[in-house]
């Protein structure tokens, strides 16, 4: 029962690139976050990165910083987040829990993994836990049948890339740019080369994230060999324009999700 793997197989069969959406849970409240995930999934999102808000999200740009701040001000806690994941069980899609390392560090890493496992989530992605710092925990994660999603970046050396790929599980998350989430994407040759390099060394699915906001981004990236894209700030940007009643923005979000999915499909088909 590895939902991530199943999902990639299913998408291959459907000849589609994967559409992964990142949300911070509890922004601006839990009820909205649940509704948001449902809408996303109904409109072409294949997996969810489920973010537990952190006070100092150093890998995030202004949009997700504001998300975290709003969620924390509204009283979100890691326990509420974990309960929130459970509410998504019926959607039957793979969930990857994302958060900064201090959250599991303070709860206790093993206890945190157990709580995650219990929710039915598939894995975790911790942007400030690079391979070296993750090493003491790799065995523990594997034993709990969870994926630790590792990241690579345009600045990653070949030597490290090799080591990361050796330890990668679920998929590899390729950070598209030097910067933080929500930055402006410019698709440059170095990303495309990195996709090639990874493909030359590994069969693990490649997800490209950071800065993706348009159908065309997804299309080019997937056409060039990636297995999917991750998108987050682009959705949060929309509802954060109407925080009094973010539900009014769900229609617009659904529309973007469908477009992105079309990009994922078109991109995949171009490869064929």
């Amino acid at each position: 029962m590895d939902l991530i793997n199943e999902k990639f197989l299913e998408l291959r069969d459907r000849k589609e690139g994967a559409h992964i959406a990142h949300i911070y849970y509890g922004d601006p409240n839990e009820e909205f976050s649940i509704k948001l995930v449902e809408i996303l999934v109904k409109n072409g999102v294949d997996m969810i990165e489920f973010g537990i808000p952190f006070s100092d999200p150093i890998a995030d740009g202004p949009i997700f910083q504001a998300s975290c701040e709003r969620a924390l001000n509204a009283g979100i806690t890691p326990i509420k987040c974990i309960n929130g994941i459970k509410k998504l069980k019926d959607l039957k899609i793979p969930i990857i829990v994302t958060t900064y390392f201090n959250i599991p560090y303070v709860i206790g890493f093993e206890k945190f993994l157990e709580m995650i496992k219990e929710t039915g989530a598939e894995g975790i992605l911790i942007p400030d836990l690079p391979l070296e710092e993750a090493e003491p925990y790799l065995k523990m994660i594997r034993e709990k049948d969870l994926h630790l999603i590792l990241q690579v970046a345009p600045t990653t050396s070949n030597e490290r890339l090799k080591r990361i790929l050796m330890n990668a599980s679920g998929f590899i998350y390729l950070i598209s740019l030097e910067g933080v989430t929500g930055s402006k994407l410019r698709i440059n040759p170095s990303i495309l080369k990195l996709i090639k390099d990874i493909k030359a060394q590994s069969t693990i699915p490649i997800i490209v994230g950071f800065g993706i906001s348009k159908k065309e981004h997804a299309e080019i990236i997937i056409a060039n060999g990636a297995d999917g894209i991750a998108i987050g700030s682009a959705y949060a940007r929309i509802y954060s324009k109407d925080l009094k009643n973010p539900y009014r923005k769900l229609f617009e979000i659904a529309k973007l999700a469908r477009e992105i999915k079309i990009g994922c499909i078109n991109g995949y088909r171009k490869r064929l």
């Binding site: 006070s55 100092d56 150093i58 590792l150 050396s157 950070i175």
Partner: protein, 391 residues
């Protein structure tokens, strides 16, 4: 100290994007720092530009009133007005030799920002300083000085608009430009190798103290007292004494108004181990691991985290973690003004306050060294407002 770890503290907890920059820096530091060329340039700048060695001043009037010998290590006389230049010159020189074109950094009291733009100008590097809007407001003089020296100031509005937020923002900026830009970390915090690099550059303080106290007293001191948040002036002073077990080491944090979590910066009193800004350290957080803003009138101590090495040294008991409350600090300012004609930085005054208010820690034949980390020019308005309630 393997891999930048000090016991359980330290490490390199950053996004993959930044790993290469940290590895590059670690390698460059190990390669360049020991060279004769670097040592010569660095020590010449410390001496001729910075004004090193700074004096070790026997504070006679002060000593008479407290009943034991007090020496002040006069980092306030360093160019720029605090110990910060030791580190800024070292890193700027390193950055230049690494081929970087630009320095970015964060600052709270403004002392580190000032030191960075000075060092940047000397080395021909552009400088951009990230500073919380609240700190910009309360350290207006230093902001003006940095601007006059040509630094670009980037006001940080996120969070509480203080140091913690500025550090986060600088790390984000660095992720976008690390190939051409050096993040000139201002204290012994952040991911490896920063804590080690900063402590190394600052240890010139302790090395001088050791030499000077032998010249003056023919023996080691009984105690060294330093203020701190990240810990750079303290580690700089402590380093050469860590294996001298007869020397008591005191680290004085910002107690703020009281030790309630909302009113203090005393992370060793009310904090716990935590992953913040790239490393594991002692910090103030809630039970879920959300970092809490610290509070103290001294902008330079207003950081919720203690660097990994000082966290470790306090944990194993080699350094005693202490604190001083705001009102004690202001009174200490007045005391040292009157006795020795010196206006200390509010940060520095924490160390003075601790010595004044803890007679039980000292004996009449003790030799006590206070690391006089900075001068108070930047705090004059705050100090006068405290005493006279107006500007």
């Amino acid at each position: 100290m393997e891999n930048g770890k000090f016991g359980k503290y330290g490490g390199m907890f950053v996004s993959e994007v930044l790993i290469h920059a940290l590895l590059e820096l670690d390698e460059a530091f190990k390669k360049i720092y020991p060279t004769d060329e670097f040592q010569k340039e660095f020590h010449e700048l410390l001496k001729d530009y910075g004004g090193r060695p700074t004096p070790l001043y026997y504070a006679k009037n002060f000593s008479k009133l407290v009943g034991f010998k007090v020496y002040l290590k006069r980092e306030d006389l360093l160019c720029g007005g605090s110990h910060k230049l030791n580190n800024a010159l070292g890193q700027a020189l390193l950055a230049k030799k690494m081929g970087k074109k630009r320095l970015i950094t964060e600052t709270a009291a403004g002392q580190h920002g000032l030191a960075t733009v000075m060092a940047g100008n000397i080395c021909g590097l552009k400088t951009e300083i990230f500073m919380g809007i609240k700190d910009i407001e309360r350290q207006a003089l230093n902001v003006k000085k940095m601007e006059l020296l040509g630094a670009k100031i980037k006001p940080i509005k996120t969070g509480a608009g203080v140091l913690k937020d500025a550090v986060s923002e600088t790390l984000r900026e660095w992720a976008a430009c690390s190939r051409t830009t050096h993040y000139l970390m201002g204290s012994t915090v952040g991911p490896h190798p920063f804590p080690t690099i900063v402590a190394t550059f600052q240890s010139v303080i302790g090395n001088e103290i050791k030499k000077q106290i032998f010249e003056k007293e023919g023996r080691l001191p009984n105690a060294i007292v330093c203020c701190g948040s990240g810990g750079s002036n303290a580690l700089g002073a402590f380093k050469p004494f860590i294996n001298e077990h007869g020397v008591r080491l005191y680290f004085v944090e910002g107690g703020g108004e009281n030790l309630n979590a909302e009113n203090s910066a005393a992370a060793f009193q009310i904090g716990s181990p935590c992953v913040l800004h790239g490393s594991i350290m002692q910090a103030i957080q809630d039970k879920w691991g959300q970092i809490k803003p610290s509070k103290t009138r001294a902008a330079g101590l207003n950081y919720p985290g203690r660097g990994p090495e000082i966290s470790y040294l306090c944990e194993i008991g080699r350094v005693k973690a202490c604190y001083a409350f705001d009102h004690e600090v202001f009174n200490a300012v007045k005391f040292i003004c009157k006795t020795e004609g010196l206006i200390p930085a509010l940060e520095t005054a924490h160390a003075v306050a601790f010595v004044l208010n803890h007679p039980e820690e000292f004996h009449s034949d003790d030799i006590v060294i206070i690391n006089f980390s900075g001068r108070g020019d930047k705090d004059i308005e705050t100090i006068l407002r405290f005493f006279y309630g107006f500007n």
